[in-house]
Amino acid sequence: MSTTLLEVDDLRHTYRTRQGDQTVLDGINFDVQRGEFVSIVGPSGCGKTTLLRTLSGLLRPTGGTVTLSGNVITGVPKGLAMVFQDYRASLFPWRRVGANVEFPLLGRVSKAERRARTVESLKAVGLADAADKYAWQLSGGMQQRVAIARALAMRPELLLMDEPFASVDAQTRSDLEDLLLRVREQFDMTILFVTHDVDESVYLSTRVLSLSKAPTVKTADVPVPLAFPRDQINTREDPSFVETRSEVARLIRQASPGGLAAAASVH
């Protein structure tokens, strides 16, 4: 019984610059069902960030509509949380970790509820002991976990993530991937995940969307036929993982004609 949570209909965005108009999104369509984990991959400069900003209501698109839970988005909607790539510019250095997690709840839920949710969210990301530290006293991976905890505290229906693991080392990255899958289960969230890493998109998702270079359109919509829970070693060895991974990689290469990969493959 899947119901549609997010509907993106003919989404367009054009930036007006001094060099003339620059179309970044050129009519994008897709739906996200409740409970899905959808990754969006594409070549660099494909307008992934613009897409996320329009979905989160931070940027008003120049055409098309985004509908969340049946309501057309005109500003930042309820029931949505966002995790940014740069945790340094998103966690407040003057607030302690617990106070950062609590921040979106201020003036919205009671103090007792705020405390309970903060504790629960920090526990879910394994940082129950760090509540009284400042974020900048923690490692990069831990800081991104604080940002995830803050998103969890909002109890979002839809969690948007903009290349959240791009600034951490490889080992931390796989730890964070598994942590994300765990909390997704625990908090029953729908996740839309932007990344430039094909392996990561297949490992995490139930479905992968690929985008073309700007002006961007959707080039493929690939379901991932892998069961949960996933495992960093076994899942990545699974033939259907390898197959899906190759398919997505091929689609991305086709989507960027004239790129280095395409030039090398011409005999």
């Binding site: 931070l58 510019a89 979106p104 201020l106 909002m154």
Partner: protein, 271 residues
């Protein structure tokens, strides 16, 4: 462990600083004690006079003398009110300019023009406009001291990382809460830098304003003493002024290190 090392180093630095000050006092004392010049009393005489003049009423009398209420208190009052006005106006206007580009574009050139006027130049105008009362002195201080706060707030607010603001927006936090709990804290170290500069400017303007048409205050006492050739009291007033500057800086540092503790620690971590 590293914190104790830092604390020790700091104590040492403070001790060296005080030794330097003490040495200067000794040299001053020795040099003035030898000379017969009337213009240079010894520091011991000056501090004696200063204590006698303002702090000799004993414990039962509340320590400070009546002269303190004529010479010092009016100045403190003017300085404090003038600075509070300057800080309030400076921070509010700075936030407005930093947050609304249209306001900044229209107002900024005018502000730079006004800032270029040295405060004391406006003294004659202020005398004519607001008369010789406290209002004149307070508004002169406020006008002269507003600029560093305004421009520091403006630039600090403009440099608040976009990520902080987007975090607040996606959390659907109200504009008011964003102002007080995101923008102002993020800009606080810049604002404090402006407040420090404005305070030393304020003291200069305070004295300038008390040199004309005053009947009390440190600036008035200073000129009175000088005109009647009472050189020892004149020196007392000069020392009182430097004490005022020193103490105000001490208070500000105290408040700043409390409010900006996180900032200092963060800087230490990132070094």
């Amino acid at each position: 462990m590293s914190t104790t090392v830092q604390t020790n180093e700091r104590m040492l630095r403070i001790a060296v600083g005080w030794c330097g000050a003490l040495l200067l006092l000794v040299v001053w004392q020795l040099a003035t004690a030898r000379s017969d010049s009337l213009f240079f009393p010894t520091p011991l005489e000056i501090f004696d006079d200063l204590g006698e003049r303002w702090f000799s009423d004993g414990l039962s009398g509340g320590i400070v003398t009546d002269a303190f209420f004529v010479d010092v208190i009016p100045s403190l009052e003017r300085l404090l009110i003038g600075l509070l006005v300057a800080w309030t106006v400076g921070i509010s206007l700075g936030v407005l300019l930093g947050r609304i580009p249209a306001v900044a574009h229209t107002v900024e050139p005018i502000l730079h023009f006004m800032r270029a006027l040295p405060g004391p130049v406006l003294l004659p105008l202020a005398l004519v406009l607001v008369g010789t009362g406290t209002t004149m002195r307070v508004s002169l201080i406020a006008f002269g001291a507003v600029w560093p706060v305004l421009f520091n707030t403006y630039s600090a607010v403009r440099r608040v990382p976009e990520g902080y603001l987007e975090t607040a927006r996606t959390a659907r936090v109200s504009r008011l809460r964003t102002l007080f709990q995101v923008i102002l804290p993020a800009a606080s170290s810049g604002i404090f830098a402006g407040i420090r500069v404005s305070t030393s400017l304020g003291i200069i303007l305070l004295i300038a304003s008390e040199l004309v048409a005053a009947s009390d205050g440190i600036g008035f006492g200073l000129t009175q003493a000088q005109r009647s050739f009472q050189l020892l009291p004149m020196w007392s007033f000069i020392v009182a002024l430097s004490l005022l500057g020193y103490l105000s800086n001490l208070v500000l540092s105290g408040v700043e290190s409390g409010v900006l503790r996180w900032h200092r620690l963060q800087m230490a971590v990132q070094d």
